[in-house]
Structure formats: C-alpha cells, structure tokens
Assembly symmetry: C2
DNA sequence: TTTTAATCGAGAAAAATATATCGAGAAATT
DNA sequence: AATTTCTCGATATATTTTTCTCGATTAAAA
C-alpha cells in the first residue's frame, strides 16, 4: 500500500509537543544546534523514552550520541500541529476574558489568527482591539460564511455558550475553542477543545487541601 | 486502624468533578431532587460507570432506581475539592490576562479568593480592580508572609515566570496556578497547576488539520 | 586504534485509566 | 402480589499511557 497510514495521535502527545517547542525555540536562540531527548525530558521532568516516542510521531529520527537537530525538530513539530500557517478564527464574547485573548498577540505563533470579534452588547460593536474589529453578534452567520472561517472561540458566560456554538456551526465553523464552563452540545463532527479553568482549579485546591492536611 | 486511609485521587477524576457540579447546580435550580449517573454521563458524553466511580471518591453512595440526591452530592463535591471555603490568593502580572482574571467574580465559587495583585510596572500600583488592590511586585514577599497567602497566580510573560515563582515560594506560597507557557522550576513540595493555552490549541489545530485532510 | 560514554529506537512490562458484565435493590407498573 | 424497569456498586476486562530494558550506533576520549 502506498498511502501513508495516518496513525492516531494521542491527546497527551499533542499537549506535550508545544512544551518541547518552547524549549527548542529557546535553545535555538541560544545557538544550540542539537538536543537529546534526555535533556528535554529533564527540563520538563518527563521520561526520556516518552519524549523520543512523542517526537517519533512527527516523523523525525534522531542520531545516537547527539540526538536531534534543533531547527529540524522545530519545523517538524510546527508542521505537525499545523502551526506553520495560521488559520483564521472568530471570537465571540468581548468581555474581560475575550478582550484579554484579543489583546494577546502570541496566538499567531500557535496556529490561529483572530480576524474579528463579536458581542451581544451593541455598545461594543464598532470598536477594535489590536486592529481586530468588534461586530454585533447578529453579523456572525453572514460574515462567517463569507469569510470561510473555520475556528470559533467562545468567551461568553456559560448560559450563552450553547447558543453561540449553534450560531457558529450554522456559520460553517468546524472547530470551537471553548472557555465557558459548560458542556457544548454539538454534532460529533465538530471539534471542541475546552479550556475549563474550574477543572484546573479543582486539581489545585484539592491537592493544596490534602497537603495541608498531611502536615498535621 | 482507625485513621481513614486517604486514597489517592486521579487527576482525571478531579477534572471531571467540577463538570458534574455544573450540571448538579443547574438541576438544583430547576428543582430536581435526584439524579442518576446515567443522566450525568449522557449530558457529558461519558460512561455511567465512570461517573459512579468518580462520585464514589466523594464518599456519597447512591440508591438503586433513583440515583443520587442532588443537594447532598453538590455538598460532597464542593467539600471534596475544598470549595466550601475559599483560600486566599495573590495574582502577579496585571496585564490583559491578569486583569481578566481579576475582573471575573466567579472564582470565589471555585475555592479561591484573590485578595491582591502585583505588577512590575509602577504605574499600575495603587490602582484596583473589583476592589482588589494592585501593588508593586517588590511588596510581594513581605505581604505574602504577613497575610499567610498560600496560592499564587502567575500571569506574567514566560520570560518572567520563574523569577515570580521563586518570589512566591520565598513568600511562603504553597500552590501556583501558572498561565505562563513555560516549565516552572520549583521544589517538588510546591504544587503547580498549569493552564497551557498553547497546549490546548495544539490539540485543536492538529485535529482540525486532520479533519480537513480526511475530507480530501 | 581501542575504549568509553551517550544516545537512539524497538520491544516488553507496568501502571493508570476507562469500559463492560452482572447480581441485587428499589420504585413503578401491571 | 407479581412483574417490569431502572439503577447502584462490586468485579472483571479492555484500553490507553507510561516506564523499563537492552542491543546497536555514533562521537569523543584514551
């Protein structure tokens, strides 16, 4: 068979690759040409075998004794994650969190380019943040279709999230980056990636509670 | 042995519990008194056995045919996560993301209470957000010790994150909620919970890239 | 040139996590 | 009262993810 089998990539792998990239970028700036899996693993407190197996997914092969070529590995990871070219995105919910995301220029390094924002508050429409225009939410379906936008970012309150998700999907959006602490009910062909801050805090507060209790 | 054995709780469990809580809170508002694991599982697209096992960690036992008592389960989860009383927290980095977090009142429902913020920019010192005062970063060590703060939130750029973490630890902070996309080098008794937005985006952009390629 | 040290990658093993099976109990229905 | 339906929780199984072992390879040091 000639077609390359696209093996399924576990999510934990996808979550570690950007962390490798962060280290690699720093090493490149320092002028370091080669890096071993051991070094990456030590910096991130991981197992070196795990790092090697993760890298294997990107198709890069290393060399004994010296490891991997830094620039080559950077390119491979970026390409693997589709970070070598940005995908346009819409953001809905220009509240404090939405504004913060709009104001952060770094996401262009992570494969997305926010080209417009939307809000239900008419007073916010017409404004811009970092040259990104803010429209009234009513404009979303039409603009989304016309501009062929594939990624939607939800930063509205939980109560409004599902309604926004439906609008996005009607507008042709295929992947949703959801910050609302609620389950989105969407067709299963829609990709949903949640950022659940409460779920992150639960880990922190539980562990802290336990560690304080253990001291007693 | 009389001392109750504190079983280790897997992180995936801790991350699901707040999601159950979200549903339970909604059900309670709707006046629903009982809920089955099946119902929770269906809403979150999980397995009902998994939901039951997760709930088991909180110590609550259900009843055949009817399931679990909503208010009792809410209380048990909140107590389990230490969300029945808030822990004071400091935030460092009053940029756009830091400001967004300061501006969001909801974290008090998730076990933390931000009582002060810090920034290296002297112009920001003296201001307040939602009545939370902003100080210059130099004040952190002293205030942290005096107020016995245990949680630190890092919302500074990656390059400054480790320096801030060290200051926090010197100030007696035991748990760090880190939003900087960088590995914190801290003693292992310090609890670190990362919110890595790039790691979340990598999952989204990779899946989207694959789904587009699969269509061809 | 020989030896040593560091690394990769294949495969095996272990650990963690998720899912399936099923008997028993409780409520509703017949 | 008997039957049906729904659910729990104990146990077993399956799957996923991580870690360990080890021979082969490369570069540097002796």
């Amino acid at each position: 068979m000639t077609t390359k089998e696209i093996k399924h990539v576990p999510e934990p792998v996808l979550r570690r690759l950007p962390r490798y990239l962060q280290i690699l970028t720093r090493l490149k700036e320092e002028g370091i040409k080669e890096v071993s899996s051991t070094r990456i693993a030590d910096e991130l407190r991981l197992d070196s075998t795990q790092v090697r197996k993760d890298i294997e997914f990107t198709g890069i092969i290393g060399k004994p004794k010296t490891g991997f070529l830094v620039p080559q590995l950077i390119h491979a990871i970026e390409s693997f994650l589709n970070w070598d070219n940005v995908t346009d995105a819409f953001l809905v919910g220009a509240g404090s969190l939405g504004t913060a995301i709009l104001g952060y220029p770094g996401f262009n390094n992570y494969g997305i380019n926010i080209i417009a924002a939307f809000d239900s508050n008419p007073e916010k429409a017409g404004g811009t943040i970092r040259n990104i225009p803010i429209f009234h939410i009513d404009k979303l379906p039409d603009l989304s279709h016309r501009m062929h936008v594939h990624i939607g970012i939800i930063t509205v309150p939980a109560a409004a999230a599902n309604e926004v998700a439906t609008m996005m999907i009607d507008g042709g959006i295929k992947a949703i980056w959801n910050f609302a602490p609620v389950q989105l009910r969407v067709p299963k062909e829609i990709i949903v990636e949640n950022v659940l801050l409460h779920a992150s805090l639960s880990v922190l507060t539980r562990k802290l509670g336990q560690s304080i209790q253990d001291q007693k």
